[in-house]
Amino acid sequence: MSVTELKERHIAATETVNTLRDRLKQKRLLLLDTDVAGYARAQGKTPVTFGPTDLVCCRTLQGHTGKVYSLDWTPEKNRIVSASQDGRLIVWNALTSQKTHAIKLPCAWVMTCAFSPSGQSVACGGLDSVCSVFNLNSQTDKDGNLPVSRMLSGHKGYVSSCQYVPDEDTHLITASGDQTCVLWDITTGLRTSVFGGEFQSGHTSDVLSVSINGFNSRMFVSGSCDSTARLWDTRVASRAVGTFHGHEGDVNTVKFFPDGNRFGTGSDDGTCRLFDIRTGHQLQEYSQPNGENETRHVTSIAFSISGRLLFAGYTNGDCYVWDTLLAKMVLNLGSLQNSHDGRISCLGLSADGSALCTGSWDTNLKIWAFGGHRRVI
């Protein structure tokens, strides 16, 4: 078959795909009889209300000299790892604000970092297209630097996101600018599975974020510059289990909802959305109209432990707290007195759900916790 014939087949196939997608969208619309907010209102639910001192900044972690790009909490204890443009990973004790490790990276262009489930190791990735793993118990070299204990090489583009598989220090999933996600065996340093790519069904643009289902670690979701999120089963690398359309811009961040049956997304289109993994329905959109000449992208999201709150960091320095049930913005941490001075680039919740950590281009991390009066019955 000639290249010309192939191009004709390509055009025809594209048209068919678009037609089918439209028909699917129409069918799906018929099933969207309500959204979460509509349902909650009908049930008489009222929004969460926060007093001025209910959610307050109780720690500022200072130490980075460049923009903070990524952070992750340990599942146990209260430690945080952060990655910055200054080319360092810092491991913090969130309770005391002390730094336990400052790791100088071989490649300063870091974009993401993650704590291993045991808290013994941290991983990071960036523009070097490599995911580097550091054992925090290793001896430092003569210059006082912690050596890389494993380099996971194989991506053909930058490593934008990484997350350890829950309860497994030996497996990690990365997302990359090469349009793929990879499940790695850290022990061997080899790729166990590649999800997507040129010859497989998957994302058609850079993958920016991954989130692994806490209830079923075989399932993970990825967000991409192709404006979609995709659900993957690690046992089936050849195709995504589901593709979630709706966003009108890059999907910068994805995070599983605490029940494991839904996930949230944040996008360059300024909205966050909640999708159901079993039905594929978009259950809710969380958005506020942009001001004039204001383009505000969502950079990072996290759910509170009950799922009632959705924290969303924006490029303009806002950090909205959304009531997920009423789809109402109930607090803007960015407007509080001691909030960040720059873009919120990353955020995450402690494992017990009692504290939120935000990282910003202002070089700081901040810890937010409930500081208000809790009524007891």
């Binding site: 799906r28 001192t53 402690s350 017990d352 759900g353 409930f370 208000g372 009066h373 007891v376």
Partner: protein, 218 residues
């Protein structure tokens, strides 16, 4: 190296190299790439057709919305202010405090402060010395008139209320906490101090109201 001419005159010289046009290879890479794109789209068509069939049996969104609402409402969240229905016994305390605030005061208001399920309801008590025996943390008032005063143990509290109190102190905390977090219950254990901590209080869980790992008090 092949083709290198030797120095002997008897050896016939090799013909000079003649540049050749590269063979007319088909554009394999481009073709393969194009083929891959088509195959990918055709697979996508298959998946979409499957999805089209499976969508028939899908539940409506309202079912999923109900699941979300049930999950959210069924879980406690340490970041959310809890407001729950007042139980019957609480209504009594509320009534007692209200009565206390309206009538010439009997010195019973300490009850509502000390034993009321919610110390916030102390604001309803306007009797003199309302929390005399209350073992809730002492407060410094935000208003300049009673700055640094322990308003809840003052004899006149007309200008001080819980709402105006911004900085409770744990009983043995030497330095004033900077937030409302350090709310100590009766029998609060010893509280240490540290200048390095934001709150300047080292409380433990039993000291702080609903502290999970208490980021203010550790």
């Amino acid at each position: 190296m092949a083709g290198v001419v030797g120095g002997g005159g008897s050896v016939p010289s090799l013909p000079p190299p003649r540049p050749k046009s590269p063979p007319e290879y088909p554009d394999l890479y481009g073709k393969r790439r194009e083929l891959a794109k088509v195959q990918r789209l055709e697979r996508e068509i298959g998946f979409l057709e499957e999805e089209m069939k499976s969508i028939e049996g899908l539940q409506p969104a309202s079912r999923s919305c109900k699941e979300v609402a049930d999950f959210v409402m069924g879980n406690v969240d340490p970041l959310i202010p809890t407001t729950k229905k007042i139980r019957r016994s609480q209504r009594f305390w509320k009534w007692l405090c209200f009565w206390c605030s309206g009538v010439s005061c009997l010195d019973v208001s300490w009850i509502c402060c000390c034993w009321s399920p919610s110390c916030c309801e102390c604001t309803l008590c306007s009797c003199s010395n309302p929390c005399r025996r209350c073992r809730m943390p002492k407060c410094n008032c935000c208003s300049s008139s009673c700055w640094n005063s322990k308003c809840f143990s003052k004899s006149s509290t007309s200008t001080c209320s819980w709402i105006n109190c911004c900085a409770p102190k744990c009983p043995s905390c030497l330095i004033t906490c900077s937030s409302l977090r350090c709310k100590c219950y009766p029998n609060c254990p010893k509280v240490n101090t540290s200048t390095s901590s934001i709150c300047s209080c080292f409380c433990n869980k039993s000291c702080c109201c609903s502290c999970y790992p208490c980021y203010f008090c550790y």
